[in-house]
Amino acid sequence: MTEQLLKVNNLCKFFKTSRGMLHAVDDVTFTIDRGKTLGVVGESGCGKSTTGRAILRLLEPTAGQVYFEGEDISALSKRQMRKKRKDMQIIFQDPFSSLNPRKTISQAIMEPMIIHDICETKAERMEKVLELMDVVGLAQRLVNTYPHELDGGRRQRIGIARALALDPKFIVCDEPVSALDVSIQAQILNLMKEIQEERDLTYMFITHDLSVVNHFSDDIAVMYLGKLIEKAPSEELFLHPTHPYTQALLSAIPVPSIRKKRERIILKGEITSPIEPKPICRFANRCMYTMDICTETEPELREISPGHFVACHLCER
């Protein structure tokens, strides 16, 4: 009984620069089912955060459609979109810069409720704030403290409470634990998982940390230079990584064990420029299996086994 909550169709986001068009997100297509988590991984500059923002229209997409519960939200007016955001929220990476330093915790959590006119009286709102603080594990005595008095883990809990304040159905989590220490990271991941189960939330979980994404997601999408290059259920992706980039990425994870030594693929070179990319495979110059065709045409995303999509010329034979 799965139901599609979000469908992204040929989403593009280009930025104009002095040296030409920067293709931050280029023709990305995927779906997320209700109550599931899609992990989006890739290195800095691959367009994963831009994808998240373009879905919420915090950045206006250059082309493509986003369907939320079957409705094309890319066609909505600004005003209608603002209403829609009640159902679609975001948690930002850096809990240090995403909170207003002059607002107390209760003001920060209450703000979205005021904007969307939830709850009639102030007392009702306050009650809801306290309830949310309880949900995310913030002690009630902290209700009148300011962000600078709190550590990173607690600030991230405020970010989560704010996102939950409007009872959304879908949350884009943009590297929510990257700025935190491992012991705190585990606390926040567990919290987010509990909340998801309780509220039947759908997450798009953006991260560069592959061990976190494997733990947290049902499906994983791998991005490289603005392109979606592989998407599969988490288990399948880790068992049978097919795109050479995914293979290299997985082999590069440092494993905290001294028994398991694995064959490491060290990639040569670095990510190339996303400005005016040629219509060829964007990974070709770093790939260990490059063939002639790779520098001639761009590979298409195709399904190689149920639910497993890959964009690589190696899989086309």
Partner: protein, 338 residues
């Protein structure tokens, strides 16, 4: 290249009972509280801990770079190949920094001079320490080649380099004078995983060629497993557990070390629930009277809140500071099951 081989002392670095405080208006912050670190020549020690554990302060103390005021090195000794750094004058320290000991900082974006070409920056170090017999620029280009950057790119400025390449330049600079000890403070934290793999691999090779000893400061147990020979786990400015990789990874003794392992998602069992360490790091200006880890420990008993635990050895290389152990049970491999 092998001048590092003929050292008379066993240890490249022998730090004992180091205490560093930051004396601020709001009180005394006890950053490092009796830290012992030892690195044998040519080997790598991992210093693992969370934000605020005192890792960076420990690294800076070795070079006497702790900002003062407010930082004060209260007591202890830091022997570099037998010589006590803390007894050196500022003038003598200038000769040690960059030559005998160099440091790589976490953020390559801020540790390079934006208005100097890359080769000039590397040559500067060589010139100051009179290395390479008069042709610093040539040596600088050699160093660049060694870290995998074409020598002719030396004429470019840092902003023309990517993050991974900037970190290579910083490493080239640090290794230019063939130091005895390299302090690497989270050298790959700001880099992407594939670039991290490249840089770690390169550091491992260079270290072998030059026989440099290394202090690898990190929070990532995966990086430790890949690069280090021994590990010291640091919590609130003290080493709570120390041993070889095998000791610490396979026979974990301290509840904090166990907590660090349990906090990491397991790649092979994705359904396993994470078991985070409860609570937060104690405020270093107000440390608990007994064991510093006591308020967060699942195994804490009465004595833990009152008395500081003593150091106990499981074998010649592996020690722990925890009340769970006595002379007898520690030999049986400890109380914590993995």
């Amino acid at each position: 290249m092998n001048e590092n081989m003929n050292n008379t002392n066993e240890f490249a670095l022998d730090m004992s009972d180091l205490v560093v405080e930051y004396r601020t208006e709001d009180g005394i912050v006890q950053a490092v509280n009796g830290l012992d670190l030892q690195i044998e020549h040519g080997s790598t020690l991992g210093l693992v801990g969370e934000t605020g554990a005192g890792k960076t302060t420990a690294g800076l103390s070795i070079l006497k770079l702790v900002p003062s005021p407010p930082g004060v090195i209260v007591r202890g000794s830091i022997l570099l190949d037998g010589e006590d750094v803390l007894k050196k004058t500022e003038k003598e320290m200038e000769k040690i920094r960059g030559k005998r000991v160099s440091m790589i900082f976490q953020d390559p974006m801020t540790s390079l001079n934006p208005v100097m070409t890359v080769e000039d920056q590397i040559a500067e170090v060589i010139e100051i320490h009179n290395e390479g017999g008069g042709k610093p620029l040539e040596k600088a280009r050699e160093m660049l080649e060694m870290v995998g950057i074409p020598g002719e790119r030396g004429r470019e400025y840092p902003h023309q380099f990517s993050g991974g390449m900037k970190q290579r330049v910083v490493i080239a600079m640090a290794l230019a004078c063939n130091p005895m000890l390299l302090i690497a403070d989270e050298p790959t934290t700001a880099l992407d995983v594939t670039i991290q793999a490249q840089v770690l691999e390169m550091m491992r090779k260079l270290k072998e060629v030059q026989n440099t000893s290394m202090l690898m400061i990190t929070h990532d147990l995966g990086v430790v497993a890949e690069t280090c020979d021994k590990v010291s786990v640091i919590y609130a400015g003290r080493v709570v557990e120390h041993g070889t990789l095998e000791d610490v990874f396979e026979n974990t003794l301290h509840p904090y070390t166990e907590g660090l392992f349990n906090s990491l998602p397991n790649l092979d069992d994705r359904k396993a629930k994470l078991k985070p360490i409860k609570g937060l790091m104690p405020d270093p200006s107000n440390l608990p009277a007994g064991c510093v880890f006591c308020p967060r420990c699942n195994y804490a008993c009465e004595i833990c809140a009152e008395e500081k635990p003593k150091r106990l050895y499981r074998n010649a290389t592996h020690y722990v500071e925890c009340h769970l152990y006595n002379e007898k049970n520690i030999l049986e491999g400890g109380v914590i099951g993995k």
